[in-house]
């Protein structure tokens, strides 16, 4: 690849990341996705924490922390100290305010930062979690390498994410909006395992939670309809019929086994 072409690709990747973070910060997306930004909800976050065997006092990094739901749960139910990092400065500010409201400002901190350039020292964390976000990172090998770098030796990565067979995915879901919906750059589970392995993270456990993804897609569709009924101004910003067609396509992809939701734990050697 020429330098110019590489720059163009890099620029495009930066655009995608910025767009993704921006989209997640918009009210309409926040409204539609609600408090829980990932399939499986709080139950799956708890399960992830149990699989990581988190212990009180440990230090955990949440990559793409969004509204902070995962971080708050880990801190309050598992007694760990959490740093959340997210590309969206507004999300970070709001999550920080929530941490203060909940009296968790001591144990949970949020930072603006890029998954591909984590603003932390080597070996700083006992565990790294990332929920429904790895699939959206444009440069997954670098993001995996960064996770490995900030982990202590023997530390673990816990990921819950969309897995899918790109070759069988409907064309329409491969567009940018599809990307935001966590589908367009998701990979099959085996590919995540390979990306992590290349970064020195050996997968020790995987499980499927596809029903959580089906439920979330249905909830997104229900919220679209509710906001249409409410004649929400924000709903006028998006193409309602197109959005519903995409949720139908996504639901079909889950039903056909093309898309699913996986929990994965990997350890740093």
């Amino acid at each position: 690849m020429s330098d110019v072409a590489a720059e163009a690709v890099a620029a495009e990747a930066e655009d995608v990341k910025a767009c993704c973070a921006r989209t997640y910060q918009q009210d309409v997306v926040a409204l539609i996705l609600g408090e829980s930004y990932h399939p499986g909800g709080l139950e799956l976050t708890r399960r992830l924490a149990q699989k990581l065997a988190l212990k009180p006092g440990q230090r955990v990094l949440d990559v793409a922390s969004g509204p902070g739901t995962t971080a708050f749960l880990l801190a309050s139910e598992f007694g760990v100290a959490v740093d959340g990092v997210d590309l969206g400065d507004r999300a970070v500010a709001m999550a920080g305010a929530k941490a203060r409201d909940r009296g968790l400002a001591e144990s949970v901190r949020f930072h603006v930062g890029d998954a591909e350039r984590l603003p932390f020292e080597d070996g700083a964390f006992d565990a790294v979690v990332s929920e429904c976000a790895f699939c959206t990172f444009p440069d997954k090998p670098t993001a995996a390498a960064e996770m490995a770098r900030v982990l202590k030796p023997g530390g673990q990565v816990g990921i819950t994410d969309v897995a899918l067979d790109q070759a069988r995915l409907a064309e329409e879901l491969k567009s940018l909006a599809g990307w935001v919906a966590c589908l367009a750059d998701a990979r099959p589970l085996a590919e995540y395992v390979a990306i992590l392995a290349a970064a020195g993270l050996e997968t020790t456990h995987t499980e499927s939670h596809d029903e959580g993804l089906a439920q979330m897609i249905e909830q997104i569709d229900a919220r679209l309809v509710a906001f249409k009924i409410a004649k929400l101004p924000a709903i006028e910003e998006i193409d309602f019929d197109l959005a519903r067609r995409r949720t139908a396509l996504a639901a079909q992809a889950v039903a056909d086994g093309i898309a699913g939701y996986k929990l994965l734990v990997a350890a740093k050697a």
């Binding site: 409204l31 408090e35 709080l42 139910e77 309809v225 509710a226 409410a230 929400l232």
Partner: protein
């Protein structure tokens, strides 16, 4: 020589679930009871020393029964209780200090007379010359007791009899409002609303919510349950309510084999009608007067939820119904629909209700304000939204749980409530559920008696006898297995032929009060 085969131990064909108390449906003696699960259905079984064994279906979907148990909110202690614990539940109503919940909804039955003589009436009302009508003073005593117990009561329902034929009904509603009751509902068959437009106009000024009996759209349903074809009267009553802006909840009594097939049509009718904001389905309560039934085949909440999912699949499915946490969660389930010309969506599909209303798993709430909002929606005191409705704010909040644009404030106008409520009868009475009941009959002597205790244990007979001065026999369910021993009372209900009637206290047939040595 013949060999006797070795005897094999057999397994029971049911799962033993709970040990509780109930009553004998014949003599009303308090007896032990057990709850068992068999073939994915939940049954209550008990034995009276004198009248034998009784078993009845409690819930026809055991999985749904188990799932609902997590929705059990810790009760709230009322400001004042009215009785002391003397004989134990359910003989000390009420409320006694051991009751587990305050009263979300208080019912005042203002008369026993009615302008109908329905074959099905838990109050055993009708064109009867020997009934009662409460005075203004008696209603005031009842309201004052409710206010002392609740502070600011949420909902008072005026019922009967037929409350609209009481000459003072408008005064009663005004008095309740003046005493700070948030919402007054009027439980009526709609006949006066159909024929007396001027009454509806006066009623509208007091802004009550009308609970109107509405059991179906078929003539045969009306005849079987109400004894008359009331379809045109219902239509006129609803038109008058729409004309004067009164919100209506349709109340459908559903009986096995009579009108189960109309469950979906009732909802569709309600959604389309401008006056109707809610439908409440009630499996027929086998207290008072009713057609003969089989307690093992009776209709339960689960049957109605399944019927809605089967008959209106384009709108509803099983998981759209959420148990109400304030009462015992198997007693009542609710859902809300958001509706406009083109779209329908049930609220539980918008928000993970489970994340907020599961009180059994010790959990960290994503957002306490959302739990509060959902508790107001899933409550026995929830009323459909409207000008005076209280669901507007929580609806907005519950829908998304985060910053809300102004536009969402109109959402309440587009919400429609669907309630499913099973009342206990002398066969199904489970003291465990009764102890957390939050729907109370308020009596003119100032007691708050849980509705299902009132109908099943003998309180209704006691209060009616006090108020009318006429001896009232102990009412026994018109159950298939009891037919040989039943006599018809002068109001059409049934009693035992040997007259376990007024004033007779049968011997206690349980282990209560006995010791081993």
């Amino acid at each position: 020589m013949t060999m006797t085969p070795p005897r094999q131990k057999a397994d029971r064909d049911e799962v033993f679930l709970e040990y509780t108390k109930s009553i004998c449906p014949v003599c009303k003696t308090v007896i032990d009871a057990e709850v068992n699960v068999k073939d994915n259905r939940v049954f209550l079984r008990k034995r009276c020393a004198e009248h034998g064994k009784f078993e009845a279906l409690l819930y026809s979907d055991a999985k749904m029964y188990f799932d609902s148990l997590r929705y059990n909110k810790p009760g709230t202690i009322p400001l004042e209780t009215q009785t002391e614990v003397v004989n134990g539940c359910p003989l000390d109503c009420g409320l006694c200090p051991e009751h587990k919940q305050h009263a979300c909804l208080g019912i005042i039955e203002v008369n026993s007379g009615c302008n109908l003589d329905c074959p099905i009436c838990f109050a055993d009302s009708g064109h009867q010359p020997d009934g009662f009508e409460l005075t203004l003073e008696q209603v005031e005593t009842a309201l004052d007791a409710f206010v002392r117990s609740e502070g600011e009561p949420e909902v008072v329902m005026f019922s009967g009899g037929e409350p609209t034929i009481h000459p003072l009904i408008l005064d009663f509603i005004k008095m309740a409002k003046d005493k700070g009751v948030h919402m007054v509902t009027l439980n009526t068959n709609g006949i006066r609303l159909a024929h007396d437009r001027n009454f509806v106009r006066q009623l509208a000024e007091l802004k009550p919510l009308v609970y109107m009996q509405f059991d179906g759209l078929d003539e045969s349903t009306h005849v079987a349950i109400r004894g008359r074809d009331l379809r045109s009267a219902k239509e006129k009553a609803l038109a008058h309510c729409a004309e004067f802006g009164i919100n209506v909840s349709l109340v459908a009594a559903i009986e096995k084999g009579l009108n189960e097939h109309e469950i979906g049509e009732i909802l569709k009718f309600g959604v389309k009608h401008p006056a109707v904001r809610s439908v409440a389905y009630q499996p027929v309560t086998h207290s008072g007067r009713h057609v003969e039934f089989d307690p093992m085949q009776r209709l339960t909440n689960a049957d109605i939820i399944h019927a809605l999912a089967d008959q209106v699949p384009e709108w509803l499915r099983l998981s759209d119904f959420v148990p109400v946490p304030c009462c015992f969660p198997t007693c009542r389930s609710i859902t809300y629909l958001l509706i406009d010309e083109d779209n329908v969506v049930p609220i539980p599909r918008l928000v993970n209700v489970d994340d907020y209303l599961d009180y059994v798993s010790n959990r960290v709430m994503p957002d306490m304000s959302v739990r509060g909002a959902l508790e107001r929606l899933w409550s026995a005191s929830a009323v459909p939204a409207g000008e005076e409705g209280n669901t507007t704010a929580p609806l907005e909040c519950a829908t998304c749980g985060i910053d809300l644009p102004e536009a969402l404030k109109d959402l309440a106008d587009k919400s429609f409530m669907v309630v499913i409520q099973d009342f206990q009868d002398p066969y199904t009475l489970n003291v465990k559920a009764l102890m957390k009941c939050c729907v109370e009959e308020i009596t003119p002597d100032g007691r708050l008696i849980p509705f299902c205790a009132y109908n099943s244990v003998g309180y209704r007979e006691q209060v009616r006898e006090q108020l009318s001065g006429v001896p009232i026999p102990t009412i026994v369910p018109n159950a298939a297995g009891l037919q040989p021993v039943l006599l018809t009372t002068r109001y059409g209900s049934k009693t035992h032929q040997n007259g376990d009637g007024a004033g007779h206290t049968p011997a206690n047939g349980t282990n209560i009060g006995k010791t081993l040595r």
